[in-house]
């Protein structure tokens, strides 16, 4: 009796299926620009078309520096690999003003940057979801006040639908809350250096890295 394993193969290819020993194949990550971090991320980089959470105590301890090389890659080339225009980068409810000269120094194309400042937290999530699912944004950075399990799932689905990368910045207190994010990273810093902990990584393993940025 012939075995039809095509449906099983299809299931195994699904990035949402976590397999302990063998990291999922074909899930290429976006190089973060920090080799030591890339080695610990499945696919060798930031998980694309998924939600990444970055937990910090304060804004400004290096969370943007961590992302800048990858965002510059997205901004510079068309990672969608067809003739369509390169993706935009949307900033939803940033806590301060992103400073254009510095962004330009990092290699971000300012003409493809959108800053959205909604008035309420609901609108933050709505705007992020719209931007993610539109299919025009390569990355969407958002700073929500609250992000419950259901909202994170919605963002995750919107990122999958729109082939986009969602990055949510959250306080350390969110560490104990459940989340549908593909990757959760905690970033702590003191005068002597920074400490990056991978709390959750779909298809990867938790890790603690010191002074990578």
């Amino acid at each position: 009796m012939p075995h039809d394993s095509s449906s099983l193969d299809k299931l195994l290819e699904n990035p949402r299926l976590w397999r302990g020993r063998n990291p999922a194949q074909g899930m290429a990550g976006l190089a973060s620009g920090y080799d030591r971090l890339d080695r610990h991320l499945p696919g060798g980089g930031w998980p694309q078309h998924a939600l990444t959470e970055i937990l910090t105590e304060h804004y400004g301890i290096g969370e943007l520096r961590l992302l800048m090389p990858a965002l510059a890659t997205l901004s510079a080339e068309d990672t969608t690999a067809d003739f369509a225009e390169p993706g935009w980068i949307a900033w939803v409810a940033p806590p301060f003003q992103p400073y254009p000269p510095a962004l330009q120094q990092w290699g971000i194309d300012l003409s493809r940057m959108l800053i959205v400042r909604p008035k309420t937290d609901n609108e933050v999530l709505w705007s992020a979801e719209q931007a993610l699912s539109s299919g025009t944004c390569a990355a969407v950075l958002l700073w929500p006040e609250q992000l419950d399990d259901q909202s994170s799932r919605r963002l995750q689905l919107a990122a999958e639908k729109g082939n986009s990368w969602a990055i949510a910045f959250r306080p350390l207190t969110a560490r104990s809350e459940p989340s549908a994010a593909a990757l959760r990273i905690e970033l702590q810093a003191n005068a002597s250096g920074t400490c990056l902990s991978i709390l959750k990584s779909r298809g990867g393993r938790p890790a603690v890295l010191h002074d990578i940025i």
Binding site: G60, Q105, L110, L114, I115, K119, Q130, A131
Partner: protein, 511 residues
């Protein structure tokens, strides 16, 4: 000397007599006469109703609907007599303005069939259709499409086709479903028409019939010169034009370039879904309007009228010129969620903004866009439109750099919608290190033994970088910028004001 009769088959040689060159270019005029316009202009109604007009101080019935005439109400009766016959009768005052709007609306709709649509008089529409016959599948098919469309919009029309506009008009007024294609046949068809269809002043009709002429054919038999002397050369000219002996140029009607349409409700409406459906109707007519002109628009204004409260206005803006009703409807739906209507709505008006020529879009080739099937659902500008529709125009922005050495002036915000300014190439040198986060205003830092504090004592890492002057716009600075780090690991961009040597400020964070 025998006088020439009006309807000679060969053109007379007299100087007043016309030649046949008018028929050199073959034309075919389609006339739609709207006998019940006064009644139909106020929209469809299920109730028995009449339109009244004031004559010598008395309101007299002008037109009746079938239900009213079944109750015995006839044109010419006074309004009171009509009410006595049918107490539930709905009486409307005639409004010539409303009639004019209805005719113009129909003319706009008829523009899809031909580029030459004329409004002749208050209740006659003329279409030149010689060039449209092939496209619309021949005369019977075109006639049927026009008739069906008019009926669907609630207008009863009498249709006639003739090679000259006047002949078509007279035939339609007389209620003849005639179709004359040859100029030579006009005279024989017109012959049997009564004088009333000419729409000449009553005094002239009276004196013509007083001479024993009761039809158009009788008029045509009258001697030309005598006819012109008695009834004016204008009437003779009209007869010649109707027969196609003189050219009858018509100015074709052009709808105003800006769209404006109203929807009046029979009763107050506060249901949002119903209001959105009404707005969609208006948007569909906007789409037709723009499509026939190959135009698109970027801004729309909806005005919701209330009975007592002042009208509510809703503006919609797009990033690109657009005409699709679905597109605007979707934007309106998002925008409408935040609109507070003070009370129920009695009428909606839609006004279009500036128009711009817009070609109908061609479909993209298959290899464009994402091949995976999860293609881009909508473009960046559409995303920006959706965001601004919900959270406001000021909340969605893009940024650009400005060639300027003062940090607070080295960049600016710009709108996303409509603003097409490209990013200014900055003269920033690559080796200058700038923070990713900027504070809106520098914060004065407290001092501890002359050291600046921000969540602990700051340690200066790099600097100073001296940034100075701006005397040309009275916003001069004299600052020494340093990179500093605090005990919690925050890298900060601080400066010392050189005019007041002891004051330190926090200006940015190296995120």
């Amino acid at each position: 000397m025998a006088q020439q009769a009006l309807a000679l088959d060969t053109p007379p040689a007299a100087p007043r007599s016309p030649s046949t060159t008018a028929a050199a270019v073959r034309r075919l005029w389609f006339c739609a006469y709207l006998p019940n316009l006064s009644l139909e202009a106020s929209g469809p109604s299920k109730e028995a109703r009449v339109v009244v007009e004031e004559q010598h101080g008395i309101h007299r019935v002008l037109l009746t609907c079938p239900k009213a005439s079944a109750a015995g109400i006839q044109p010419g009766q006074s309004a009171n007599a009509a009410l006595a016959l049918l107490p539930t009768l709905h009486i409307e005052e005639r409004s010539t303005l409303r009639e004019q709007q209805a005719v113009e609306q129909l003319a706009t709709w008829l523009e899809q069939f031909t580029s030459v649509v004329c409004i002749a008089g208050r209740d006659v529409l003329l279409l030149e259709i010689a060039g449209s016959l092939r496209l619309y599948g021949g005369l019977p098919s075109l006639r049927q499409q026009v008739a069906a469309g008019l009926e669907q919009q609630g207008f009863e029309a009498s249709l006639a086709i003739a090679p000259t506009p006047l002949a078509a008009t007279w035939l339609a007024r007389a209620g003849r479903r005639a179709c004359v294609r040859e100029t030579a046949n006009i005279a024989s068809v017109l012959r049997g028409l009564p004088l009333a269809c000419l729409d000449w002043p009553a005094s002239i009709c009276d004196s013509i019939s007083g001479m024993g002429a009761t039809s158009v054919g009788d008029c045509l038999r009258l001697p030309r010169e005598g006819f012109a002397r008695r009834f004016g050369s204008q009437r003779l000219l009209e007869l010649d034009r109707a027969l196609g002996r003189l050219p009858d140029p018509r100015a074709s009607w052009r709808a105003p370039e800006r769209f404006c349409a109203d929807y009046e409700m029979t009763e107050e409406q506060s249901d949002r879904e119903a209001l959105l459906a009404i707005c969609h109707e208006l948007l569909l007519s906007l789409e037709r309007f723009l499509l026939t002109r190959q135009l698109g628009t970027q801004r729309l204004r909806f005005i919701f009228f209330h009975l007592r409260a002042p009208a509510t206005q809703v503006f919609l803006g797009g990033a690109e010129f657009e005409r699709r009703a679905e597109h605007w409807s979707e934007l309106l739906r998002i925008r409408f969620e935040r609109v507070v209507l003070p009370e129920a709505v009695i009428a909606v008006r839609l006004q279009g903004g500036r128009n711009q020529a817009m070609q109908a879009a061609s479909g993209r080739l298959a290899f464009h866009g994402r091949s995976s099937g999860q293609g881009r659902r909508y473009s960046m500008s559409q995303l920006a439109e959706r965001l601004t529709a919900r959270i406001g125009n000021q909340s969605v922005q893009s940024v650009t750099t400005v060639a300027e050495h003062r940090p607070q002036r080295a960049w600016r915000l710009q709108g996303v919608l409509g603003d097409t300014a490209v990013t200014t190439l900055s003269a920033i040198r690559r080796n200058l290190y700038r923070p990713l986060w900027m504070l809106p205003e520098p914060i004065l830092l407290r001092l501890e033994q002359a050291y600046p504090l921000h969540q602990g004592r700051l340690t200066l890492l790099e600097g100073p970088e001296r940034l100075e002057t701006g005397w040309w716009d009275d916003d001069g600075i004299a600052r020494d910028y340093y990179t500093a780090i605090n005990p919690r690991g925050l890298r900060l961009w601080v400066f010392r004001n050189r005019s007041r040597a002891t004051s330190w400020y926090l200006h940015g964070i190296f995120g």
